[in-house]
């Protein structure tokens, strides 16, 4: 036994004597994780969250979250002598007086964008592969919660510097609060400590941004990871992989090195962006005043879809019994996002209700093998993309020499027409891919080699695919549609007939598939050749 091994043994013994953790540690240090690039997306979110905590803590040492008016006397010449809030002035100081301050600000902002991109792409991976199915519904809901909180946290964060751009964003948020029926103006006055903008808002959202929300994030992320750990990670289908096993590499040492290394990679890339790519140059915007705005005002990308929805809303406002309801704000600003996020959170339950599948799933779906789910996802993405584009309609219009009216009408019509179109196209594409898989299994790979037969006929040589590939293309299961009774034996409609009819319809749509190739069919074909 070498000295090093003896020390390792002593440390393990010391810990076990005091915690009795040996059994747990033995099991978990060698825990198996499956390998796939798309499983890194969630890790990116976790690591950028850590980067956000580190860089954010740095920023708090100098940032002064106060709307007290000061005269700027820092080293940035164009703003010298101007009246501004202490929040804005201290952000300028971080950018120009504190060594590395600008770097940290830019790292913080880039990490926030990467955090949100990571969440959205991770969510897409989980959705399109069906990883949200039983037993992982809780984690799906936690994920949707993290997405929602991330949007809020990001908005509060870029609102803190109190520059002209962010102040305009706060103004819009205030207008949404103010538009709430009955309580709107009261809530707005409570949130802002009086009329807009007042002097209370920045210090208040600072507490929420640096204390309240990060604490909730930390709690939710912990539960999210503990569930991944406890439930074991899903895996993609393939030879040797079943619902009953996990094929991969042990935590120690392979995943410790890989995951630890990946943290440094994400941090390194974020630092690189912070070094070379300017982001949110607040000194160019100037201090906030409600009487000014700059052309081309844009929120960060994860708010863009919301801004796009607000922009495309038709100008509808009603006054009933003297009370005003701003549908042009409430529908795009609250009602539609509310419906979107609720539907997103409930999707796992809706799907299992519709296809009657209540079993555990640990093998992921290839998106083509769940055409309806994939098509619904494509539809939702198309909707969001059109609204996101409309959030930048002024920039797009000036860049491509269009009028703002053309852009707006494209979005207004597109947001209704394009999503169903995306649904139909995606579903057809999935079924075509299924058909291609079937052909590949039955007839093999096209080699491109043409052979002339003695009869003069030309044929292309097909090579059979490997047993592994054939298994991969046929291992998925094809659910039969539900056949819930709508009528009783005597032909009379049963109670709940309408519900059953709807479920039957959806499940029939979800069960649409090209029958997968079987060994029997393969052998029959071989007999023919």
């Amino acid at each position: 036994m070498t000295a090093r091994e003896r020390i390792a043994g002593n440390v393990a013994g010391y810990v076990d004597d005091r915690t009795g953790a040996a059994k747990w540690m033995k099991k978990n240090l060698t825990k198996v994780f499956p390998d796939h690039w798309s499983f890194l997306l969630g890790e990116i979110c976790l690591y950028s969250f850590v980067i956000l905590l580190l860089s954010g803590t740095f920023l708090t040492f100098w940032f002064d979250p106060s709307m007290r008016e000061v005269i700027y006397e820092g080293s940035y010449e164009p703003l010298k002598g101007l009246e501004m809030s202490a929040a804005y002035a201290s952000t300028l100081d971080i950018s120009f007086e504190v060594r590395g301050g600008l770097l940290m600000r830019q790292i913080h902002h880039w990490a926030a964008l990467i955090f949100m991109v990571g969440i959205v792409v991770h969510l897409m991976r989980v959705y399109f592969t069906g990883a949200f199915r039983k037993p992982r519904e809780f984690n799906w809901i936690i994920g949707v919660g993290l997405l929602t909180l991330g949007i809020v946290e990001g908005f509060l964060g870029y609102s803190l510097p109190d520059d002209l751009l962010s102040g305009t964003g706060i103004r819009i948020a205030e207008a949404i609060i103010q538009a709430l029926p009955v309580v709107g103006s009261y809530l707005a006055f409570f949130a802002f400590g009086g009329a807009f903008p007042g002097v209370a808002f920045i210090p208040r959202i600072y507490t929420v941004h640096v204390l309240l929300l990060p604490a909730i994030f930390l709690a939710l992320i912990t539960v999210h990871l503990m569930l991944v750990w406890y439930q074991k990670h899903t895996q993609f289908p393939g030879p040797g992989r079943t619902e009953k096993n996990v094929v991969g590499y042990p935590l120690m040492p392979v995943y410790m090195a890989k995951a630890g290394g990946f943290f440094f990679i994400v941090f390194g890339v974020t630092a690189f962006l912070g070094a070379v790519a300017s982001i949110n140059p607040i000194w160019l915007y100037g201090p906030y005043t409600p009487g000014q705005v700059s052309a081309g005002s844009q929120p960060d990308w994860y708010m863009g879809w919301l801004d796009g929805l607000v922009r495309m809303a038709p100008p509808i406002e009603t006054v009933t019994f003297g009370y005003t309801i701003s549908w042009n704000i409430l529908i795009p600003g609250l009602i539609l996002p509310g419906i979107m996020f609720t539907a997103l959170a409930l999707y796992p339950f809706i799907e299992s209700w519709a296809n009657g599948d209540k079993r555990e799933h640990h093998l992921l779906d290839r998106p083509r093998n769940a055409p309806t789910r994939t098509a619904i996802g494509a539809m939702a993405l198309t909707f969001t993309l059109v609204t996101l584009l409309n959030g930048g309609n002024d920039i797009i219009a000036t860049t491509f020499d269009l009028t703002i009216n053309q852009m707006m009408w494209f979005s207004r019509i597109g947001v209704i027409v394009l999503p169903p179109l995306a649904y139909v196209i995606t579903k057809r594409l999935c079924l075509s891919l299924q058909r291609a898989d079937r052909d590949l299994v039955l007839h093999g790979r096209e080699t491109g080699r043409l052979v002339r037969m003695p009869s003069g006929e030309f044929v292309e040589i097909h090579e059979p695919i490997s047993a592994e590939k054939a298994w991969l293309l046929t291992s998925h299961e094809q659910l039969a549609p539900l056949e819930l009774p709508e009528h009783d034996g005597g032909g009379v409609r049963r109670p709940g007939a309408i519900k059953n009819k709807i479920r039957n319809r959806i499940s029939r749509s979800m069960a649409t598939a090209v029958p997968k190739a079987t060994q029997t069919e393969r052998q029959e074909l071989e007999g023919h050749h």
Binding site: V32, G100, L103, R171, I172, A175, I176, Q178, A179, G184, S185, Y186, F190, A191, G194, A195, G240, E243, N245, V246, V247, G248, Y249, V254, A257, K258, G261, F263, F264, I265, G268, V269, A271, F272, G274, A275, V276, T289, P290, G291, V293, S294, D307, V310, P314, P315, Y323, T324, N328, I329, H362, N393, D394, N405, M408, V441, A517, T518, Q519, T520
Partner: protein, 330 residues
């Protein structure tokens, strides 16, 4: 027939293929050197960071294609940090991929559902616990506890009451009164009609007494845009026309949609455009909404001149300025 169909079988995990470093000691040594090189590169990155922090002045700029004018201090710090961190990560991953074991391991899964017996016991425990507490048998306790819990929610809500004052009529009023002079923003100069040429625009605020301070809250309600057209270009009713002065018309600059500053004026078309959500208002028709999400025209400020010839408000705004709210029309 259907039960005779044979499905394609799982061929099982493919045989493991060894990496070069597993079989060739030279390749393993090479991989080890590569990992070490990455760690050394990382150390050099840290050296770059320390050097930039201590010795590179903060006002040196130089030109880099694609990036443009770049600050040497900031770039040195950032690149040093990026290299230091990235190379640690790359080294660790290269180490894991080339030298650590890469044979796949199979672990078994188990259904999460507990044994039926355990489940029954669990349900029994819950039921027994509830019975022992006796809530069902003691409705008085149940009801009073429910009421107390419900009432206790009042305290946090009530204690947050001092977050802000009640709105009162603050959303409905501005600083404009009859006779308030319109002064330029910035500059606080009072304006005469002849200061504005036809086609010109001016951002104005109500005049304040010397020494008085104008808060952002005031600006957020009081900002006014003055636009001068030729009087015959207006398409207004008699009352609205009487609110203009020699072709000068005044609108609230705070958007009737969500309160952004309606800052873009198109001289050719005489349209005002809000850059936030592109609501477009026609100046010649009392700022009627002709495009975009806003549902109401911009409030118009009636103006005239005072005895000294300066532009003043005839009266306050004809309606509340800014975005809508529930009791706006009350």
């Amino acid at each position: 027939m259907s039960n005779e169909i044979e499905l394609i079988k799982d061929p099982g995990l493919p045989a493991h293929v060894h990496r070069r470093a597993d079989t060739d000691p030279k390749a393993a040594a090479r991989a080890e050197r590569q990992v070490a090189t990455l760690f050394i590169l990382s150390a050099l990155g840290t050296v770059l960071l320390v050097y930039s922090y201590l010795f590179v002045d903060e006002d040196i700029f130089f030109f880099i294609p694609v990036l443009g004018d770049t600050n040497a201090h900031q770039l040195g710090l950032g690149m040093g940090m990026a290299i230091a961190l990235f190379c640690i990560g790359a080294g660790l991953i290269h180490w894991a991929k080339t030298l650590m074991p890469d044979e796949e391991v199979i672990a078994q899964r188990h259904e999460f559902k507990s044994e039926d017996e355990d489940r029954e016991d669990f349900v029994k425990t819950v039921k027994a616990g509830a019975a022992a507490a006796g809530l069902g048998r003691r409705p008085l306790i149940k009801r009073t506890l429910g009421a107390a819990l419900g009432l206790s929610a009042i305290s946090p809500v009530l204690l947050l009451g001092d977050l802000g004052p009640l709105p009162g009529n603050k959303l409905k009023t501005t600083s404009w009164k009859k006779g308030t002079r319109l002064v330029t923003d910035p500059g606080d100069r009072p304006l005469r009609p002849e200061d504005l040429e036809v086609g010109a625009v001016a951002q104005t605020l109500p005049a304040i007494a010397p020494g008085e301070h104008r808060s952002l809250n005031d600006i957020g309600k009081d900002a006014v845009l003055l636009i001068r057209l030729r009087p015959e270009e207006f398409n207004l009713d008699a009352e609205r026309l009487s609110w203009t002065y020699e072709g000068i018309i005044a609108f609230s600059k705070i958007c009737s949609h969500m309160g952004c500053a309606v800052a873009l004026y198109e001289q050719q078309t005489k349209h005002l455009l809000c850059p936030c959500h592109q609501s477009t208002f026609d100046v010649t028709r009392a700022a009627k909404v002709i495009f975009g999400p806003s549902a109401r025209p911009l409030p118009q400020l009636p103006i005239t001149i005072d005895t000294e010839g300066y532009l003043v408000a005839q009266a306050p705004f004809n309606e509340p300025v800014g975005p809508s709210f529930w009791e706006r029309s009350k």
